[in-house]
Amino acid sequence: MFIHIVYGTNAATMSKILLVEDDEIMPKIVARILPSSEYELDHVSNGKEAFEKLESTQYGYDLIITDIMMPYANGFEILSKVKSQPRPIPVIIVSNAGNEDMVMEGFKLGADDFLKKPIIPAELMIRVKRLLMKNK
């Protein structure tokens, strides 16, 4: 099931973000953190749906925010698939799993940033902005 949350008016200037998260609360929080006027947020709740969404949009996202531990395919699988594309999309991992190995594995696979849950909302926003600016 895809949840497509489109806010704002000017779709052409809005950054498209894919949120891959199986927690039911987190998408609501992220939708609150990222202003609807600047970001178009798509949410999927597992790795399989993320792959389907990415295929159907031909990887047409400016940023992916993903959890690590999810059903069907985990965040690392999404990360390695996204980073193997001709135009790699920046990826932020947001996860409860904060052990060193997990973080290192994420960065080895090409993650652009890592945030440990619980997140500080302002921090997520700044990191999202920074990555989007960097990749413009």
């Binding site: 927690d23 609360i25 987190m26 609501k28 929080i29 609150r32 409860n96 904060g98 849950k117 619980p118 997140i119 500080i120 909302p121 302002a122 921090e123």
Partner: protein, 383 residues
């Protein structure tokens, strides 16, 4: 004696029962009891499913309302990002539309607030805590703490820990020694998280052994809890009569690299318990204390096998290069495979000075020793 009036429709069954032989009577009783038990079980399952279904329906209606209220009144509060949480005035009236007079609704709200707090921290996390306090949901947790059932107590402890509530030490401390494993673990978790002064005080009162899994959990809690005052664990190494606490403290000493605890650990080498002695040797090796090498080598021959293995490993970890000859002799002449492997591994760890010795051994070793050396020299093999 008793004149029980049975309904008339049961009369034929009673007559059949009375006229039947004893074996048949017993069989009939058994059938009636079994059928009755089965019916009761089915009825109980149906009743629970019906209740569960009703609860799910009620929650399906209530949870979106709770989420919206939390998002509207807390997360999107205009002052949420700018004003300190304790100065923000929350609109509690909005929450009065929830049926908070009902216990299940309060439980659902509490659970949801905790869920939100697992995802956000900072000022928003504090605002969620403030909401929890202002709605007096903590009173329910206090009631659960006083309940007799251990599951309720565990729920309350998790709630207190998640909401970072201050609870008197005397309330939690006795539970850290509970005979119930889950309650014990939850109480220790809560105590470390919530006790601001002495989060490790329960080490003093622990009478039950800390199981390996408890130790893993405790290490995770201790190492992930923020703003925790880490004491010198030598205190328990020296004074605790609980061997599992001493063993765990040795691991904590390594984790926090507490070099001031080294004298207490060295004293532990004289303990009669050889498992603790092995842990102490392991600790000294991991702390890389070069001064202890000579003592380890001198006691080596009188130690049981697992202490000897730990001594060889410690010489490799310390890697001072002063006992290459000892390691070489153990590798060549020891009759135990594990000792030879540990000696070889430690020689390899000392390769900054033992390169020539290793080359010599490679050239002259027996096929089995050569395999051991190659195994130890392979950086991809950890053990």
């Amino acid at each position: 004696m008793f004149d029980i009036q049975l309904p008339a429709f049961l009369e034929p069954f009673i007559n059949i029962f009375r006229s039947a032989p004893l074996v048949i009577q017993l069989a009939m009783i058994f059938i009636v009891v079994a059928a009755g038990g089965t019916l009761l079980a089915y009825f109980s399952i149906l009743r629970n499913r019906y209740r569960g279904n009703r609860r799910d329906k009620r929650l399906a209606k209530l949870l979106p309302k709770i989420d919206n209220l939390i998002i509207d009144e807390v997360l999107t509060h205009p002052e949420a990002d700018t004003v300190p949480a304790d100065q923000v005035v929350l609109n509690l009236d909005a929450f009065q539309e929830l049926p908070l007079d009902k216990k299940w609704a309060r439980a659902a709200l509490t659970e949801r607030i905790i869920h939100f707090r697992r995802n956000v921290r900072g000022n928003m996390g504090l605002l969620l805590r403030s909401l929890y306090m202002q709605l007096e949901l903590d009173k329910d947790a206090m009631k659960k703490m006083k309940a007799g059932h251990w599951e309720k107590k565990v729920q309350a402890l998790i709630e207190f820990t998640s909401m970072d509530m201050s609870v008197a030490d005397v309330t939690i401390l006795p539970l850290t020694n509970s005979r119930n494993r889950e309650l014990r673990a939850a109480a220790r978790h809560a105590y470390i998280k919530l006790s601001k002064n002495e989060p490790f005080k329960f080490f003093d009162v622990v009478t039950e052994p800390l199981l390996m899994w408890d130790q893993v959990e405790l290490l995770r809690i201790i190492s992930t809890t923020e703003d925790i005052a880490i004491p010198n664990f030598a205190r328990w190494v020296t004074y605790s009569s609980n061997k599992s606490v001493v063993s765990f403290c040795l691991k904590l000493i390594v984790h926090y690299n507490q070099l001031p605890a080294v004298p207490a650990v060295i004293k532990l080498l004289d303990t009669k318990d050889h498992y603790l002695r092995a842990d102490a040797i392991n600790c000294l090796g991991k702390l890389r204390v070069p001064d202890v090498e000579d003592k380890l080598v001198s006691i080596y021959s009188t130690q049981p096998l697992h202490c000897q293995i730990e001594i060889l490993k410690a010489l490799g970890r310390i890697s001072s290069g002063r006992h290459i000859e000892f390691l070489k002799l153990e590798f060549l002449h020891s009759t135990d495979f594990d000792l030879r492997k540990s000696a070889a591994k430690s020689l390899v760890r000392n390769d900054w000075i033992a390169k020539q010795v290793i080359e010599e051994l490679m050239a002259t070793a027996t096929p089995e020793n050569l395999r051991i050396l190659k195994h130890c020299m392979n950086p991809l093999i950890k053990y």
